[in-house]
Symmetry: C2
Subunit: 355 residues, 2 copies
Amino acid sequence: MAASTLTEVARLAGVSPATASRVLNGSARKPGKDIAERVRQAADSLGYIPNAQAQGLAKSSSGLIGLIVHDIADPYFAAIARGVQEAAREQRRMVLLATTGGAPGEEKEAVAAFAARRADSIVIAGSRSSRAEDREDNAELAAELDRYCRNGGQVAVVGHPVVGAAAPEGYHVVAVPNQELAADLAVELAARWDGDFVIIAGPEGLFTSDDRVRGFQEGLTRAGRGPAEVLRSSFNRDGGYQAGLQLAARITAGGPDGGGLGIFAVNDVMAIGAAAALRAEGLRIPRDARIAGFDDIETLRDFRPALSTVSLPLEDIGRLATRATAPRHADDDGQPAPPVTGRVTLRRSTEAAAG
Amino acid sequence: MAASTLTEVARLAGVSPATASRVLNGSARKPGKDIAERVRQAADSLGYIPNAQAQGLAKSSSGLIGLIVHDIADPYFAAIARGVQEAAREQRRMVLLATTGGAPGEEKEAVAAFAARRADSIVIAGSRSSRAEDREDNAELAAELDRYCRNGGQVAVVGHPVVGAAAPEGYHVVAVPNQELAADLAVELAARWDGDFVIIAGPEGLFTSDDRVRGFQEGLTRAGRGPAEVLRSSFNRDGGYQAGLQLAARITAGGPDGGGLGIFAVNDVMAIGAAAALRAEGLRIPRDARIAGFDDIETLRDFRPALSTVSLPLEDIGRLATRATAPRHADDDGQPAPPVTGRVTLRRSTEAAAG
DNA sequence: CTGTTAGCGCCTTCAG
DNA sequence: CTGAAGGCGCTAACAG
């Protein structure tokens, strides 16, 4: 990775490195027109590309923003990543990507790596966990973040704060009203179906999942219904599929669930998995089971029967998180970011007119 | 972004910075055990995190790998990104992400930005274009890449070489047999449907799209059939939807296409869009039209009717591209990467038993 | 407005 | 095996 340096450019242009720096990179001070032109020509003819590492070292700021997701191929994270990327581009920063599979230990590593690269800010998407097994890692993650912030780093977390993290300067949370929206969804569904509900959830301790479960139960209560049974499995398509198989067996067996079921999967991907399982067992939606998800993943919208869900502005969330970590401008009204809002989106998968 | 420095650690440990460096970061030379322990403790108590920028400056290599995609939220790119990310982690490197919407001008910018950050290598995914309007930008992109390689950078391109790029040291192409596979697909489809075929393609000049179109026509010829009509629209879900609407109108109107149609969309996302359009117009698949895509996107596999397609090992492709740019090891047999292979995957969307 | 002088934090020769 | 010195490429204070 050798390349021509600023010094070479300066020499070619017959000026000092400082002057060359001033014309080539943004400086408050403007060198003379003629000189500037000569420098620019020299730079051009040498194919000069500033060394961002050196600039970063000198200015102690890197123009880098670190993004932490569970899995970039998961459409939920991919959508957020798109928003982050867009905002980053607006701010003329580049994004560094880290995937962790959701393990707090890995997240801690990622934060350290970002800190090492002197990323100006870090966006953490993806559910935090409060499982006992993660306690220690969570504590380390919190400590790492804390240190990062104390050193001037900006952090934005999507959804929930990191467990045990203090809230130092530079620590922002983009709150997502998972619980409220899940409650709204439950109310709507309860108005359209008076049989039993079952919730397909992720592992206990995942905040996003837990919030949605809690909200849904709350909504049922509000609608005068008893709480739904909760089935736990992994927080992805296969988890939904497994749970779906169980439910299919019940429905098929007749019994209390033979009349059908209202299913709420805590995210769209799981809902799709569950739907696939039901179908594989010969059941039909919404005839034999109504099913709803959460997120309103774009790629899944052409799915049939169209999935009832809660629409979340995933891209905006990424954008907001990124903006929250941006250096404050003068023309910045200093207002906290607008809160994230979502809305219940009912589609065919929970349609009343079933038989 | 202040943080404790190596010098501070050294001072605390009562040794020279050089020694501290040797124990903390990988050096061939091993300081004494006692000394090493003291340094490590000092580092620990200070929460020392090495400054990668400074390390990069000194070693002139950054441990960064740049990834260029059209859109990270597109499942095709997301899958490749996952592979890149995995390989990067194996090599203990971090990935820098850039999205370009496929515009060669943006890609050139991205390459320059990566070069500025002194990324050790760059992976370019996403179709290159040979459209006249892109000529100039393509040339600049090629020049930029060329310079990057000459400066010691490693480049891997997925699918096609960049238009007009020389093939200097460090320039690798991960070839994807789009044409062959499309031909195979055509042969299989032709064996199962003897009506007309129509191809829903991306804009002319997109290599990936063009290759698949060409291959499909070739396959038809091989099967003793005449060439299919080609409908062009944008290379995404909406493009597929638009084209689907047109085809639906034809089929509905009866006429020559009233008996049904065999549709090949050059990628899964477009195929899903087209299917959605047909359905919206009251048509059914595969009864009124058979439809096939390309890529075998994971998220789309639960789609019904299940989409016939060509399976591509997207993650592997990302991994291979990344590995191709890795510094050569001693135990490296120097073999070129294994070629990418795919296979035709027939599912219900093109099933013969329709009526 | 330009040039000179110091570093930014680290690694890597080179002596000791 | 350790320490001292120089430099990676650039910017930010100072002088002139």
